[in-house]
Symmetry: C2
């Protein structure tokens, strides 16, 4: 299976859902929400959720909706990360960042609104009655909140910001990566698994997969930040180094970093052994992420 | 019944719950969350939720927890509103605003984390099994998200920010008030009612109460902003006028604004007629808000 093709197929469903779900451009705020959310992107987190749901042979009609909440969260985090007071990035996905296209105030509020919308979407009644139990829906909301909150993504971002220009060690860098990126990857996979009514053992194995793939993704991002081309990433290359941000290659060099990504990917795939054929999408995404250049 | 005393009694329970629920001060982010959330405040929104729950003779053990989520949302909105890119207020509740006490980046993230925590808290399992149905819990989460999202509080804040220095009419000002403040008041009352398993008719009457009391509160805030004392409000008097923000008294004068607050309060109390004695707390809060000077 081709990971890029799989993600593209999911992306189409996710994007259609998001386009239908987002409010129209009847206000600047809603325009700003659309601007950032529908600016493209691989939809990797929703794709992981759908793939995890397929790995446990889920049957819920609601998986695309629940998977989409991860993109709402991810996009809000990008808008806030790009703000002058944070990473101060003027470009995102090849376009002016939200605070450049609109204003800082609107960018802050658009992020707030997208975060809130994620929970609104997740709490809506299912497409079919009795499709997924209400208890499972509450569990999904909890995963979403925990993965993106102060012990998850936002916590990682806070330590990242605080570490700028500081001499931190590799352990702290890994802590940042595991939270800032890793916890939302983890939530994505677990939400897919929960929507597919995974057993406790399956949930555990998929969680391990998600943690390895999340760290591999972030180290790969660090590598691409150092060696990638401006056009591919849609933002300045080596922008992390320019502002004194620690990266994995800065500690271990490019080659060892690449080795680490490879080893994590192999271990991630190893956790999927007992799932057989239905886990092909998760394997394909792991291999795709290993080879991506943007 | 004395509204101030009633709110103080609820505040104690709310503050104890929040103190126990908030993460410790193990990181700057968590410290910033505590700093703003435990800085005092009347806890009016949670108080309204508990009072509405009492009006329908609720019995859930979980009302304090659910009511507390409204304060998490309210506090996040204050942190973000105070940012330099928004209202640029350096003081809040008599202390330096979050971005002054910490940094802008930490203030943005603390707001994000408090918003996320609200949904985490709301999605946790109840104190007792079968206390409140999972369907009701999902409804509560939906009220919270709708009240605070782009069609609610955040939407109102966006229009408010965009209107600064513009010549707007009274209709637009009322639209801002009804969203920026009103929608979260509405959510507070409706969440309390849902937690108390209100009938559809009760929910409708309580919603009308909440809309009237919400607008009365905001007009009163406008009045206090013009005539109040710096020490009482903990921020500069007439700060709205100073930055060209429209207020109710600017359109209608102080006297007519006071009349409007009084008329709205009377109508709010009128909606409670059929509830009898259990609605005393809601009546007391309405009267308290009419007479408050801070």
């Amino acid at each position: 299976m081709d990971g890029a093709a799989y993600l593209a197929a999911q992306r189409e469903k996710i994007d259609r859902f998001l386009d239908e779900t987002l409010p129209g451009s009847d206000s600047t705020l809603h325009e700003a929400m659309r601007y950032s959310l529908l600016a493209g992107g691989k939809r990797l987190r929703p794709g992981l959720a759908v793939a995890a749901y397929e790995a446990v042979e889920g049957t819920s009609q609601d998986i695309i909706r629940m998977a989409s909440t991860l993109e709402l969260i991810h996009t809000y985090s990008l808008i806030h990360d790009d703000l002058p007071a944070m990473d101060d990035d003027n470009y995102r996905r090849g376009k002016p960042a939200s605070h450049k296209a609109f204003t800082e105030a609107i960018a802050i509020l658009a992020g707030d609104a997208l975060l809130t919308l994620a929970f609104e979407v997740a709490s809506q009644p299912g497409v079919l009655a009795n499709d997924i139990s209400e208890g499972t829906r509450l569990q999904v909301i909890r995963e979403l909140a925990e993965g993106s909150g102060s012990f998850g993504m936002v916590g990682g971002q806070a330590i990242d910001i605080e570490s700028e220009g500081m001499a931190i060690d590799a352990k702290r860098l890994e802590h940042i990566h595991k939270h800032k990126t890793g916890k939302l990857f983890r939530a994505a996979v677990r939400i897919g698994a929960l929507m597919g009514e995974a057993s406790a053992e399956q949930l555990d194995l998929l969680t391990r997969y998600s943690e390895d793939i999340g760290l591999a993704f972030q180290i790969n991002d660090d590598i691409l930040n150092v060696v990638g081309a401006r056009t591919k990433l849609g933002k300045s290359t080596n922008s992390d180094a320019a502002r004194g941000k620690p990266t994995y290659p800065a500690f271990f060099g490019i080659d060892a970093s690449r080795q680490k990504v490879k080893a994590l990917t192999e271990r991630a795939i190893h956790w999927l052994e007992s799932f057989g054929l239905p886990a092909e999408p998760l394997r394909a995404i792991a291999i795709f992420q290993l080879s991506r250049t943007s």
